[in-house]
């Protein structure tokens, strides 16, 4: 009898202890916030991660004692982290949504936008695919699942197999809002990043996918082996343009040219500011071009100047 009582007491005590620990754990503060001086955390877009990593390495090589960490995870992940004030800079290949900016404000995060490079979002197919030009509407219909066979757009009689990104990707959202203006086909394969789409298309003769241009050009700014980059026309009456030509992206003749953004909490200061300035300098822009992307178009430079507090 005594033993039984003891056991009960122990159970009670341990449950109470655990419950207490559990509650403490739940309520614990999660705010790591602004990093200490000289440590800048950058997170977000998978499209931008390689480029920003190279920029960060160069910057760190020139400035001793400064430490930057650049990670991917998708634009949505970076923006979510910025809203919760867990990163210093969020990379995003799409613009922040109205409701996200409101959420950030509610958390006391004052969002500032910078455009650090331009991307010619590339629509890619297998190298054996005879289709070379498509209009934006055709691409939209293909990804909505309304066009399902390549022969409908002048290709071979093959069922189209779709490759896209996952919902945490800024490219996923950009492409949906600007090209489809509707939902993706449920049959679209949701790949884990740009590189996986590239691998998938190389192996799939009937595949079509979309990736940042930095992932499909080699050092000579030519498309990499195994796939074709399509020329895209705004509508049936315009001329199809290739994202491989810098002027198409600069003038907006290539309809899928888009800005690659970075978001910060408030006007950046200290190393954060210095790093963004470096990215926008001639040297930083040259690195963006080296990585296959394009320099910031004039119309976005104004946003940068305003938000840098000039």
């Amino acid at each position: 009898m005594g033993r039984l009582l003891n056991k009960r007491a122990i159970i009670l005590v341990s449950i109470l202890t655990m419950a207490g620990l559990f509650l403490v754990g739940c309520g614990g503060a999660q705010n790591q916030g602004e990093g200490q001086q000289g440590y800048v955390q950058v997170k977000g877009s998978d499209t931008m991660v390689n480029m920003v990593q190279v920029l960060a390495e160069e910057y760190m090589a020139q400035n001793e004692g400064v430490s930057l960490s650049v990670t991917g995870g998708g634009s949505g992940t970076g923006i979510a982290a910025l809203i919760n004030d867990k990163v210093d800079i969020a990379n995003s290949s799409r613009v922040m949504k109205e409701e996200e900016i409101k959420q950030a404000e509610a958390n006391g995060v004052d969002v500032k936008r910078f455009v650090v490079a331009m991307d010619g979002l590339s629509v890619i197919v297998h190298e054996s695919n005879p289709v070379e030009n498509l209009t934006v509407d055709q691409i939209g219909d293909i990804f909505k699942g309304e066009i399902t066979n390549w022969k409908e757009v002048g290709g071979l009689d093959k069922e189209i197999s779709l490759y896209g990104r996952q919902s945490n990707s800024g490219t996923f959202v950009y492409f949906r809002n600007n090209v489809l203006k509707g939902d993706y086909s449920a049959n679209m394969k949701r790949m884990n990043g740009n590189a996986q789409i590239v691998e998938g298309i190389k192996a799939d003769e009937a595949g079509i996918g979309y990736v940042g241009i930095g992932y499909v050009v080699n050092d000579n700014d030519k498309e990499i082996e195994g796939l074709n980059i399509l020329n895209v026309a705004k509508d049936a009456n315009s001329k199809p343009a290739s994202p491989l030509k810098p002027e198409n992206v600069k003038t907006g003749d290539y309809p899928l040219a888009r800005p690659l953004n970075q978001y910060t909490n408030g006007v950046p200061t200290g190393q954060e500011l210095e790093f963004i300035k470096y990215e926008l300098s001639d040297e930083g822009q040259a690195i963006a071009v080296e990585q296959g992307f394009y320099p910031v178009s004039p119309k976005f430079k104004k946003i940068n100047e305003k938000n840098l507090g000039k």
Partner: protein, 297 residues
Amino acid sequence: MQKRGKLSKFKEKAIEWFFFGNGILAIIILIGIFTLLLKEGLPTFQEVSIKEFLTSTDWNPTSYSNRSYGIVSLVYSTLLVTVGSLIFAVPLGIACAAYLAEVAHPRMREILKPTVEILAGIPSVVIGFLGIVLVGPMIAKVFNLSNGLNAINGSILLGVMALPTIISISEDAISAVPEEYKQASLALGTNEWHTLITVTLPAALSGIIAAVMLGMGRAIGETMAVLMATGNAPAFPESIFDSVRTMTATIAVELGEVPYNTTHYYSLFAIGLVLFLMTFVVNLISDLVLHKYGEGE
């Protein structure tokens, strides 16, 4: 003397408590996790009807126009891939275990068994990558498909990941069958193959079932490899050659970006709850089976 006895009695008691506390810890953690899943998962049903959640095949919480929260395709995909992996891994695993335990030369066994166990240490991203660049194209070629990112790819990868568990535990079970059983069988005039099939394997059955269940547990909860290799299309799969999206992959993909305390966020925990109940049922069944064969205690 009296005092010392008291002290050692106290010590005895304290140690007993300590071990009891450790034992009970697992239960408390389990209850904690279950409570968390309930607390975060149940608010889903304030906005989504349970009927829609459990019977609709449309999963698209980030839709452009129409949000939908049906998990049928996800559950079906998970089961499809898991069962597929067992069809692949169980015969292979038991055959390999029987070879190791009964047929292989001791020296051969000493090389093979650790090798099999090393297989368990390969990170799942590596296996997932192999799924994309090696298994996928092979499947596409063999079955004449345009690509190999489908359920069968995931099944093969999960099968490979479940194999070490199944082989290792089955081998232990088969080795533990008393020598007398086999000798008695051989003395009755059967050959070794017949002894293996009709005496040794049935005698080791409870251990083998435990091995299969543990392998299944590994397969059902595995995330990274299936996330990379099955294509993750949320459409309801019509055959094993269709791309599938499992429950774990859905949670892994969407939890990173979802705004806290939204229906989408809650619904991901609700998926976790369903997954938890599924693995619970699997474990319960395996327990019942073990008890039925009288070796579960």
